[in-house]
Amino acid sequence: MTITVYVPTPFRTLTGNRSYVEAQGDTVGDLLNDLGVRYPALRNLLGSNGDEVPAHINIYVNSHEIHTLQGKATPLKDGDEVAVIPAIAGGQVFTPEQVERYSRHIVMPQVGPIGQRKLMAAKVLVVGAGGLGSPVNLYLALAGVGTLGIVDFDVVDLSNLQRQILHHTHDIGRPKVESARETIAAHNPDVKVIPYREPLTSANAIDIISQYDIVVNGADNFATRYLVNDACYLAGKPLVDGAIFLFEGQATTFLPGQGCYRCLFPAPPPPGLVPSCAEAGVLGMLPGVIGAIEAIEAVKLIMGLGEPLVGRLLIFDALAMEFRQVKLRRDPKCPLCGDDPTIHELIDYEEFCGVPFPAHGEA
């Protein structure tokens, strides 16, 4: 019986950098012996003939750990997929449930068990559990991001349900962070949710943000948008930013020192000039598009994959069904991250923006 065996990133130096290798065997034990013959360096890792598989390595047949099957005596048949998954230093081995849950990620060589471990070890703060915050939180939770901090002081309103996929009809009147925690737990109990049922302010923003690796913005007002921007820069945290209005969305990623929201828009519009989503409306699926892009950016940063949306502003027009990009530069004159900064701590954003700090109800 020829079986395809998935080899995780840390072992690939032993298999000529191949992520899938073939070996022969009618049982898992035979297969491991044959693997050891073909790749002698693997033999020490997998245990020699007759030994048990070392405790820090799990063997999976079709996503089931062999201890839940018949151990090394587990029979193999054509088409079975075998994976060798080691514990990463400091972490425990995936449970069989986790290997199956995250198998579509783990199977991709760019992610693999190490990428999945990084996701599980990551702490992401999501500002808002509304239109953008819903898909961001949900997708990060499904991906197994270990800790999600969610800041939202609002309660669920019937008019939210046209787009806010974290909340359900029976949640109306409940705090959004509680509804969010319940929805996330139902989707993936692995995820630890830390709810902040309070507005983000100049008094608490740095304290909260400092506890996370990455911040994702789903704020619905300019005061919070500038506050989150400033706090992330001052705390040295990457910020994934997104905004939506009517049929349009914007998304970008700010890495400290490589431009910020103030470089993009030096000041907010005067109050009343730009209507809010509550006043003007927003297409219900639009936050799904922009929120998913924000979630993608966050997991790319966590796993160190690809090219982040740094130095680029992505613009989505749902009616034209068109994505465009414009350049976004660090402004040497930026009061926050420029050459001669004047902002060294969080300012009074209420005064700065000329609007009351996010009031209860519709913003």
Binding site: I244, C277, V282
Partner: protein, 92 residues
């Protein structure tokens, strides 16, 4: 010089479409041209002193004109100007 000017939400309402042709040798001249045809256009983009609003960006092709010569940036036939205001919405 004819350039294409692409606008979003608020300005789209004023103009009635999302792409409009504008005439001018510089960004500033195109804005003046549009103001003549669409009264009120300029106040959405410029302050009373004639400077660019700090919450509105104008891109020449994909470059922010603030990093070029701002309103005095010269234009070429076929250039695309995009006028992009800050969006705040998170869809609360």
């Amino acid at each position: 010089m004819t350039v294409e000017v692409r606008v979003t939400a608020t300005l789209q309402k004023l103009i009635g479409q999302k792409v409009v042709r504008g005439q001018g040798e510089t960004v500033s001249q195109v804005l003046t041209d549009l103001e003549q045809r669409y009264p009120g256009f300029q106040t959405q983009v410029l302050t009373e002193d004639g400077a660019l609003h700090r919450f509105v960006n104008i891109y020449l092709n994909d470059e922010d004109v603030r990093f070029l010569q701002s309103l005095e940036t010269p234009l070429h036939e076929g250039d695309v100007l995009s006028i992009l205001p800050a969006l705040a919405g998170g869809g609360r």
